[in-house]
Symmetry: C2
Subunit: 386 residues, 2 copies
């Protein structure tokens, strides 16, 4: 096992009717930015609950943080925070709204163009942040319990991550009932997103990290067991709660301690979103099977373990077991309604040059846990996704 | 799943040669209490590493925090802290040293007799605490990443827990190499302690908490797989690291969120330690098998799941599978060198009245996740341990 530091101070308030707890959590602050997305929270009652809980505060609303939140949109919120001397930012939504709010919180007092800190994973660029909290309404990204974010630019194929301990949410409220009314596609995308977060941290080198391996397998099993339940019965509370908690645990740092991580599927996926606007979860479902097939020699021992522990595949030659596990995973993505080929989305061989160009531009020419996926191999992977 | 709050701000610094990181972690403080136990840290090099890392600080040493740390001992350290205006407490040792330092930290500024807050799990009694950090040298108790502690009194069969968020360690340094020289019995006791911590949170009601169940099973498997390795080869780094990390994860709050907990095995075990001085791990290995057999109807579904997921027992009648799983667990405890009957330690039927008297005195007359273990049933359980 490799050396590591684990630190995660996010307070999680989880369960039915927990949004009123917001009142206590923000009692120190008066001027609050209430940031959200397209307005679904006005239909499902979350907005009303939040406004009720903040009755004694001065609220400034910022609506319209889009999926794959855009620098240009977020900078308007940064201006609002500066003008109105906002003391606390409350993100209400899914990973895009929360990621966007992390950017806003860090940007308000940043000297220079905040785009400069996008791309920095060391945390060195960000010296301070306005405090923020979240109310999660879409389980998927895990942003509610980590200090990373992914930001895009309008009219540009740039979609890049940053991280800083300064942007850990002070608290995150997770009420599974807020997810009852999610569109089926968003629920399914969220399940794939969490699933691939786990495999990015699990299907790498064997580090003899027993707890991390068992926990990754446990989370994958939770998603496989509970995912079909929420799709069949969107108001199954326990299933919604399990998906929500599994998604949060998938990316809060516990799985990556002491082991190597991959993230190549995410990086290729980001380019597909940036260029063609595909949902994040969809891009992962497309890239993952080909990534695993083409990198199976790198990941052989872990894929074999995955086949046995997650899919119960014990018979046959090792290579067959691995192929069977990849196929079953791909079938799972399809079974929850997500097509797994580029051609299903009208993307063809002629589009691959452009994607490779983007990877090149973003310095993504040495991906994966071994940093051995160059642009040529990315091309092979994308071609295998057709 | 039940509603819950999860909050754990302890920074974990894990791995080889990590004790020098101490220098950065305590840079804000000058006057530091260095507290430890019987002095094994002077033999294994940990003491020297700590003193080197604290070269620029004023160190006050407090040696002699005993197993099952005693109020009377700890109050001497409290006086030292008050006299010397200690700013930070560094606990170097296992759960007893760390628990003792949590008491000291909370007691220094406490108005009244600090024994008053022992027994309080609500955190209401403790208004403030001196900051503390830990260097863990014995994986077992999990105290390095939680805010609870268990304190005893000299010349009295009192051994009682307390908890307060004020006593979360600011950091804990876990270097698995510091455990290479542990006596075999301490290593084995630690494995049993962690094992039973997990089952106290897992073998209760079925709460449909998928992640918590899978994670409990994963940790149990880690202990079963890695435990024999460390006993056979005490310098197997990865195995030591896995046991250390599993023990920490077993009691940091993640397993108990959203589910009911039991703790009856611990409460009976505490009385055995208080009255007869048995090691904590030993008491758990004695009580656990009888507790499971006598409470198996309460825990039926979970024990059945435990039999299948942890021991791979799939054949036979349900009750047989459960009995087989309990027997296999008991055999595991014996296999790592811990005898599992009271009679192995010279404790007989004539001693049970005294133990029941202690449980009565401590208000332990409604134990377990259903609060249905009264003194009569505790008597049956203890008799079954003979």
């Amino acid at each position: 096992m490799d050396n590591f530091i684990f630190y995660n101070p996010v307070k999680i308030i989880f369960g039915k009717n927990t949004i009123p707890e917001l009142t206590n959590e923000v009692s120190k602050y008066n001027r609050i930015l209430l940031a959200y997305g397209g307005g679904s929270i006005k239909k499902n009652g979350v907005y009303d609950q939040v406004v009720t809980a903040l009755a004694n505060h001065t609220i400034f609303e910022f609506q319209g943080i889009e999926p794959n939140p855009k620098y240009e949109t977020l900078m308007r919120a940064v201006e609002l925070c500066r003008t109105e001397k906002i003391e606390f930012i409350l993100a209400v939504g899914g990973g895009s709204v929360i990621d966007g709010c992390k950017f806003i919180a860090a940007a308000v007092d940043y000297e220079g163009d905040p785009w400069e800190f996008v791309g920095d994973f060391t945390g060195k660029s960000i010296k301070s942040s306005i405090p923020l909290g979240t109310i999660l309404t879409l389980p998927a990204a895990g942003s509610e319990m980590n200090c990373g974010a992914v930001i895009s630019r309008a009219n540009s194929p740039d979609k890049l991550p940053f991280a800083s301990q300064k942007v850990f949410p002070r608290f995150s409220i997770l009420d599974p009932e807020t997810t009852f009314t999610l569109p089926t596609a968003q629920t399914a995308n969220g399940i794939v997103d969490a699933f691939v977060h786990i495999t990015e941290q699990y299907l790498t080198f064997n580090a003899n990290a027993s707890v991390q391996d068992h926990w990754a397998e446990g989370l994958l099993l939770s998603l496989l067991e509970e995912g079909p339940k929420v799709l069949a019965d969107p108001e199954n509370y326990d299933a919604r709660a399990n998906i929500m908690w599994a998604s949060t645990m998938a990316l809060n740092g516990l799985l990556s301690v002491g082991v190597s991580t991959d993230w190549a599927t995410h990086m290729l996926g980001h380019e597909l979103t940036a260029k063609f606007g595909l949902d994040h979860g969809v891009t992962l479902a497309i890239v993952w099977p080909s990534m695993m097939r083409i990198k199976k020699n790198n990941k052989f021992n872990k894929l074999l373990r995955y086949a046995k522990e997650v899919w119960g595949i014990g018979e046959g030659e090792d290579a067959e077991k691995i192929e069977k596990a990849i196929t079953k995973t791909q079938e799972f993505f399809e079974s929850i309604g997500i097509k797994t080929h580029l051609s299903d989305y009208g993307i063809g061989r002629e589009d691959i040059d452009g994607l490779i160009g983007q990877l090149d531009k973003h310095g993504m020419d040495r991906l994966g846990e071994r940093q051995d996926i160059n642009l040529e191999e990315s091309r092979l992977i994308l071609e295998a996704c057709l």
